[in-house]
């Protein structure tokens, strides 16, 4: 595709990570036990983290593991353990409109594939540009200089979410 070819080991790694991500995503959607779903989602997120590392996004790789796998998924597992599991294991797992939903999802995917196919020629843009080797430093510079205001807005969002979560989880409001 693009100019110089990558070494075979990187493409093998890419296919391993991609296969891991997609396979465990499919398993996550189809498993009956929610804890199994959560574990497969963790596998998907870790495989995605590997792909981030391959794309020289080292800071995002660490953020993905610490924040997503270590933070959000632990929250999910806690909530799964708080709501009862044994009853919902024996219930029907898919809702009544599953066939309609499947067709709709298929149509959406086909649409995106067609868009990808049509726009593919314009994606062939030549070689990629060089990335700053000091990734974490570059991210920090961008975050605290050019993206200062969005950064502060994100911190306010997190504060609001924290208050909201505490109020929601309180026994009596």
């Amino acid at each position: 595709m693009t100019g110089s070819a990558a070494s075979p080991i990187t493409s093998v790694l890419f296919y391993i990570f991609a296969l891991m991500a997609v396979a465990s995503a499919v398993l996550m959607v189809t498993r009956r036990n929610i804890i199994h779903s959560a574990v497969f989602l963790i596998t998907t997120l870790l495989a995605t983290a590997g792909i981030f590392l391959q794309l020289e996004a080292e800071f995002l790789f660490v953020v993905q593991i610490i924040l997503y796998v270590g933070g959000i998924m632990v929250l999910f597992v806690f909530v799964i353990m708080l709501v009862n599991l044994d009853v919902s294991l024996h219930l029907i797992q898919f809702n009544r409109q599953k066939y309609v939903a499947g067709v709709l999802a298929f149509v959406l995917t086909a649409q995106l594939l067609i868009a990808f196919w049509v726009g593919r020629s314009s994606l062939n843009l030549g070689d990629a540009r060089a990335m700053d080797p000091k990734n974490t430093e570059a991210v920090g510079q961008a975050l605290f200089q050019r993206y200062m205001l969005p950064f502060e807005i994100a911190s306010i969002l997190l504060l609001v979410a924290m208050i909201g979560a505490v109020v929601m989880a309180k026994r009596r409001v």
């Binding site: 890419f14 995503a25 929610i34 391959q54 794309l55 994606l123 700053d132 994100a154």
Partner: protein, 107 residues
Amino acid sequence: MPGAGVLPMPVDNYLLLSLALFAVGVVGVLTRRNVIVMLMSIELILNAVNINLVAFSRYWGSVDGQIFAIFIITDAAAEAAVALGIILAFFRNRETVLADEMDMLKW
């Protein structure tokens, strides 16, 4: 680490991987009854978007896409916290986490 002009893989491959994860996530949101699995599918969709952003960030040699991905992860964390709080509150009142039994507003 690959050299200056070499992407590990063509951008196409990352887009297709992202598309596959997105499609699986959409199927999960639309077909599952359990609200927690639906929420996890939404996390999967956000993750698929992040792959796109990071791939193009690598392609253009700029960290802007990665910054955007960090904001998306922040949003995912906030969303998960609030949504799981709502699920807990709902479960305490109605003893269910199934989406089609949450029909109090229906008549």
